[in-house]
Every structure is written in structure tokens, then in C-alpha cells.
Amino acid sequence: MTQHWLRSFLLMMLAGLVLAGCTTTSSETEQPQGSDQAQDPPDTAPPEPPPVEKPDYELIDGVLKYRDSPVSQTFLFDYDRAVISPADLSELEKHAAYLNENRDKKVVLEGHCDERGTREYNLALGENRSNAVRGFLISAGVSASQIETVSYGEERPVDPGHSDAAWARNRRAVLIYR
């Protein structure tokens, strides 16, 4: 388990570096008021159309949207593993950005497993999965008080099937806005 954690931590660090650029750009354009922007646009710039008032991030009916497209809220895991896939980091970074800018918003992180293995062990494994996501969000600046985790183990499959495909869908962490 130490190795898992180390690995996921390193991935987070890496992702943090990679995504640092993206975050800055998004937070620049994020300012809805535009009043306390430090630099004025250079005079030489052609007159821009008035800035769109719509923020980059919107939470509508529990679905987080970034520039009108929904951000993934389900993150899949390998069998018996609780390591976030590198492919999911950019989506998670968007959740982190939103939560950083909306300190009053809270999330529940559900951890789930496929049906293989014992139920109690899977309850623990599901908790590791929700904690992996929690660790990522906290390392990205989200306050621990904004996050609640709950593991359902294998008790709440999203796909009741018994195939590899069903199992893959069920090994997941789900981010739910409250």
C-alpha cells in the first residue's frame, strides 16, 4: 500500500506541475468582475469585444461544467488498485480549481469496487479509492473540510453484470457535489 500511495503522490506532483499552466490561464479568465485585474490590457491591443460574463465553471444540477462541457465525475481504477489514472488528472484538476474558487462548495467522494473479492476487504479498497481522489484534491489546494468520503465497497454497482466490462465500470470513485 505504501508503494501505491507513493506512486499516486508522485503522480499528483507531476500532474500539479503539468497543470500549473492551465490553472493560471483558467483563473485569469475566470475573474467574472474583472475589476481587480492587476495589469491593464496594453493600449496597442485592438478593442476587444466586452468580456463574456459567463464564468468558466458552472455547477448545474450537481454536474460541473467547464466552458459548457461537463467535467467527468467518475474515475475508474484498475483491479485491486487505488491509484488514480494519469488520464483522469486533468479532469480532477478542474474539480480542484472549482472547489478552490468556491470554498462554500462541498463534495462527497464515493469509493466503489467490483464484486470480486470479499465484501469487507472491498469496503476498505473502496475507501482507498475515495482517499486517493481526496489526496489529489487536497494536494491541489482544496480544503479537507470541503471533502467527505464514503466507501460503498461492492454494494452499489453501477452495472449489475458479471463481465470484465461490468467490473471495469464498477471499480470507480464518484465525485458528488453537495
Binding site: T2, R116, R119, E120, L123, A124, E155, R156, P160
Partner: protein, 450 residues
Amino acid sequence: MISLFRILLLSGLFCFGRLASAADSLDTIIIDAGVDDPVRIAVVPFRQRVSMTADGKPLYAFDGLQNMSDIIGFDLARSGQFAPLDEGNMLSYPAEHKEVFFRDWRILGVEYLVIGRANFEFNGDVSVSYHLYDIANERQLLSDRVTATRAKWRDIAHHISDVVFEKTTGIRGAFSTKIIYVLAKDAGSPSATFSLELADSDGERARTLFSSHEPILSASWSPDGRQVAYVSFETGRPAIVLQYIESGSRELLTQFPGINSAPVFSPDGRSLAMVLSRDGNPEIYVMNLADRRLRRMTRHHAIDTEPSWTPDGQNLVFTSDRGGKPQIYQLEMSTNFIERLTFQGDYNARARLLPDGRHLIFVHRRNGVFHIAWQDLERDVLRVLTQTSLDESPSLAPNGTMLIYATQDRGKGILAVVSIDGRVKYRLPSSSGDVREPSWSPFIRTLSEG
């Protein structure tokens, strides 16, 4: 007289399937395998005499009651140790001692014979007298009489099965025991419901102890058979609940942040081992039930879960992935000495010890398939007991001869039973939904008399 017996017999057979369909009872047991050379026993249909009132009307009727012999015969058959003689092949139908002719049974190769009578007393109680014979030695092995209320009809039959089993095998019978299990309807859909069910060990007479739209798991009996501890998500998070079986009164025992799970009563009933992740990751704790004080038993950053007790109550056996993969470990509580018990395979979990403390049963993965396995701790011999897949949650009968577990049959969760030697197998499916998380009761008293 014979024709009357036939009618009773037929009605008994007819009742067989009908009784099983009551409410959410499990379906009729499907016996898959028994021992190679089972004991041949004959259980003659019990003579049922209807008492008449002074004006010739029946006082109490046997309507809806299965003949005792059917219940007893089926008990013995599902033990796998006995092959009950088909009633149609019997040469006579004795119901009392003077009607027994040993040669009738010797010709048929019968080793043991059970006969009996059932009557209603004037107060409505059922009175059953029965006899057990050893045919080869032409000897009566026991003769007894049981009286109980009509509601105890099946309990009387299971009691007789227990007595016959013990007299003929030397092992205490466990037919009067109960099982608790979880019935999940529409599992995997948002409208799923979960209920904690209590039934006889043959799946009959199921009743719901608790139901919820949130998951229920890990039921564990108190050693006196009066309470059950389990995990319920009814609050939206896992919590450990303690429930009195008779009164139904419930208490939320723990609800710490994180996991609250895997409760298991100590053999003396005074403590409850459990798993809490309130300190950051899953660890084993023991709660003193008198003062509710918690004692942390493990300290490791790995997953520690699924505790159970050694029969002497001195050690805890648990699952941990501290070695990289889930394996079974033992903790000596007085010294905190921890020892790994399983080394074969890369997934061994949820162990339970046999009453002798020397043998372990657990979930074992072999070639990617989950089975129930048995291990001799002294000789380090491992035996896979089941051929089904996705097997989990093994729970031992109190006499240690059989275990019940959850498995899948054509994509549906069913319960199954296997003997400790792997030879006897039967299944308990349910048409009501997926059944899982079985827990076999300790020995309990179902009749008021000894």
C-alpha cells in the same frame, strides 16, 4: 388405514413446495452431492390423528402442516450423510413400537428406522412421540415424546432430526439452527432494496429483521443467539448496528467517520471485534460491550479487516494486505504478536476458525476464481471446498461439519452449503432476489424443554 396414510402422505408432499413459497423464504433446497456411501435410513410418515369433539367434529386440523417425516427425512438427506428410503418403497408403515417388524426393513437394506405419531392435545398443543431403531441389531435406540405449540411444528421435526443425527453419527445435529442473510432486490439499480432475513437452517419460515434502501452486510450472531450485529448504510454511511432478534430493538453502535464494519462477537459475547478507519485507514478494534470502550488492536498503514476470534477468545484472525496482497494473519492479543497464516495463493481473506481452533476456512483465489478453502493450520494443508465462482462470506454451522456461503448461479446471488470435507453440497436459491452474506446461528433452543 393404509389409504388414510397415503392421503396424509400425499398432502404432505403437496405442502412441500407450497410452504417454501411463503413471503420471502428461500426456495426449496437443491441437493447436489452427498457422501459416497450414505447411511440408509427409513423415516416412516408420522401417523397424524385428528382429535374429535364430542359431536364428532375435528378439533384441530393438520391443514398446511407438512408431515414430520418429510421434514426429518429432508434434514437428514441434506446433511449428505443419509439416504432416506423413498416412502413408496416401504413395505409397512408402523407408527408405534408394536407395529415394527425388523425383517420388513432388513430386506430393504435399511440401517436405521424412525417412526412416530403426532396428535393435538385439547389445548391445541402438538404432541409427538417417536422411536429410533437399529435394524441390524433389532434394537430401539431411543424413544421420546415432545410437546409444543402448533407454531413449533417444524421445530419439533428439526429437534427429532438433531437427536437422530447425534445418536447415529455421534455428532451434535444442527438442524434446529437458524441462518441470517441479506436479500437484495433490484441490486445494481437505484431502486435497490436490502433486507436482513432470519430463516430456519433449511431456508423455511423467513422473516425480515430489518430492511433499507441502503446496503446491509456482515451479519454476526451473538453466541447466545439473541442479538445480531451488522453493517447498515441507512444513514448514508456505514454504521455498526446491534439488534435484538426477538424484540427487534436496534442500536447504532458506531458511526465514526470512514469505515465502520465487520463486527464479530467474541466467544464469550462480551466484546465485539470490528473495523474502523477513523484513525486514517482500516484497523481492527475490540469494543467492550459493557462500557462501549474501544481498544485498537492493529497499527499498520495497510488494510486490516475481517477479524474473527479463535474459539478460546485469546487471538484474532484477520485479513491484511500488509504483505502486498490480502492474506490471513493471527494476532495474539496478550502479546500483540502477529503471525501470517496463509501462504498459498495471492488472495486469502475473511477467515473463520473451526470449533477445534486448528482449522481455518476462508475465501481463496485460484486461477482468478474465488472459492472457499479449508486449511489445516498444524500441517499446512489447503483444500479447495467449492467448485462454484465468486464464492464469499463462509459461515460455519455450530457443529463445525458444514459451512454456508454466498455464490453466484447464472448471474444471481444464491446461498450454498458445503461440508468441511467438500463432499456434501446443496444450494439455497431465492426467487425473491439476490441472497448473500449468510451467517449460521450458534446452537439455539427452539423448544422450551431440554
